[in-house]
Symmetry: C2
Amino acid sequence: MKPTVHDIAKIAGVSLATVDRVLNGRPGVRSVTRGKVEEAITSLGYVRDLAAANLAKSRTYSFVFILPANDNSFMIGLHEEVRGAVARSSAERTDIRIVDVPPFDARALVAALEAVLVEKPAGVAFVAIDTRDVRAVTERLRQAGIPMVTLVSDLPDSSRDHYAGIDNIAAGRTAGSLMGRFLSGPFLGEGGATVAVLAGSMLVRDHRERLEGFSAVIDQAYPKVHILPVLEGRDDPALAETMIADTLRRNADIAGIYSLGAGNRGLIRALHRARGPSRPLVIAHELTASTRAALADGVIDAVLNQDAGHEVRSAIRVLKAKADGLPVLAAQERIRIDIFLKDNLP
Amino acid sequence: MKPTVHDIAKIAGVSLATVDRVLNGRPGVRSVTRGKVEEAITSLGYVRDLAAANLAKSRTYSFVFILPANDNSFMIGLHEEVRGAVARSSAERTDIRIVDVPPFDARALVAALEAVLVEKPAGVAFVAIDTRDVRAVTERLRQAGIPMVTLVSDLPDSSRDHYAGIDNIAAGRTAGSLMGRFLSGPFLGEGGATVAVLAGSMLVRDHRERLEGFSAVIDQAYPKVHILPVLEGRDDPALAETMIADTLRRNADIAGIYSLGAGNRGLIRALHRARGPSRPLVIAHELTASTRAALADGVIDAVLNQDAGHEVRSAIRVLKAKADGLPVLAAQERIRIDIFLKDNLP
DNA sequence: GAAATTCTGAGGTACGTAAATCAAAATTTG
DNA sequence: CAAATTTTGATTTACGTACCTCAGAATTTC
């Protein structure tokens, strides 16, 4: 039988009230007595029954999710996953509030985080933007004891407790490696190949890191591949379409395209329009309805994906654990880079 | 506030005892009264507080995991993950027992499942072997109301409730696609390429399915690639080593190897020994210490992986849900095929 | 219409923990 | 050494559900 507070009281030779005082850090216990109780706890291997404790406290974990109100499918999907979690929230003793902020707007994010500071929820998750101001607020949140999880885009070396997202450098490297290997066959050979890169914005860390990883692998392992200057499409389908169409028109010899941000609907439209003699090899991020269809059609060759549902559920699990002061299972919470070819679409 | 049994009693105009009788399917309630209560339940949107219910019942979920006592790293890792779950079990109200059976032994598996039938745990997970006898026992388990989850290797169209493992046909297709594309470059060209396939046993479904998917893609999309007859290494490193060494000696022109089972330590040893002028392209399954090292060294080019930890945790979640008659979150429980190149090793 | 049977209500105890009150004991302070 | 203070004990209520008993009401059966 699992030991209970009653067992501790018996072993330590104190009353239930004293055990409770020790367990919950309440005042009014001499250090001698506290020592006896703690000894009994460790000797019995007592672990508090969280379900019973939460029941007694009639506790609900209140979390805030700050999400950019982006127009692209990935962010819309992320929103949906959080809404799904809200729907399940009553059964999980959580109470999740969604706060929308304008995309790529550090000041709006800071303002939202400051509001969190006032509200004092049990935890907050947000898509980070990497600026000094944002870092500064996170430090204030940490001091206020509010657990923080960054979602999708990280803020390394800051006060955040955890990052629920993929390793974007590794993602970029993987894209580079696939690009290099796939190109080595039918495309390369006569001297070299030109590759275009479409990003959302170099201001967000995840995009910077993907480019970094991609370039590193290409430069090092596939020196015959030449990367054009990055196109910044602000994750906007319409903008992406014109940029890609322009680039394809100007550089007839483009052998590959790496789309490391969102807004792939535009990219795909441009590709469909530009049906030339030989289509370029395309590697994109995020499996959405449109990229999935493009993969199946052979317009896109590979899609690297992060599962928004996993990220949201992981963020919630981690916030809960942090709120309870429990350790997190790192292996469980690592968000993986999914690689989809047309053959392993789920 | 979430509605409770008290609210139901009040709304339905009955006593708490009657609500309890309805909720827990106890006898002694007229259908008119039952109707009133059920109406109140739906109108209030009542959902039973599982944590409180489990506390009241002082319930622990007892699960049995039947695992083959294989010598390869993957199965050893799987064992470890289950043991990890056992270690965490007290906090999760689970009580997991591990039963070891000899590998590739359908009769031993049947015997273990029959023992489960007697023990009547809250659920059972097992690595399936696809025979009539095994199917027959699962039907008896289903009739006994014991939730079943197949782990790693499935038993489709049987009485099992869920499969915690990857789609092996898709995995095989993915391997075929990578093999075809990677070979198209440096290896192919002058007419064709020869590929060897190393499996564990064609008696287990997962291996059959991987081969099926692999062959389908190669035959259809890469007709220049020729697949040698399958080698069956019984997931045994020593046997695999001699088989691969033999094959490499006999067929000097081998361009690729697809290792779809376990026992890769042997494969890797053979590859290291046989350092010829041009090394073959190698795609293997399961990321273990040895395949990871081989990937990093460039001896293996790609590894398809299933995360044993995820599979075990998913199996437990599903068994719990089935035991409680709750729905499972399909998206959460889908086990993904990880593709590792040397660039995205975790 | 009485007896037998079936329903229903009221109430309690339990699960393991939290949190509170109040009295009693121990300790410290002056 | 008495008074003030701190520490501890005993007890209670609560969280939401499960499960039990027993009495009384309603219904059915003869």
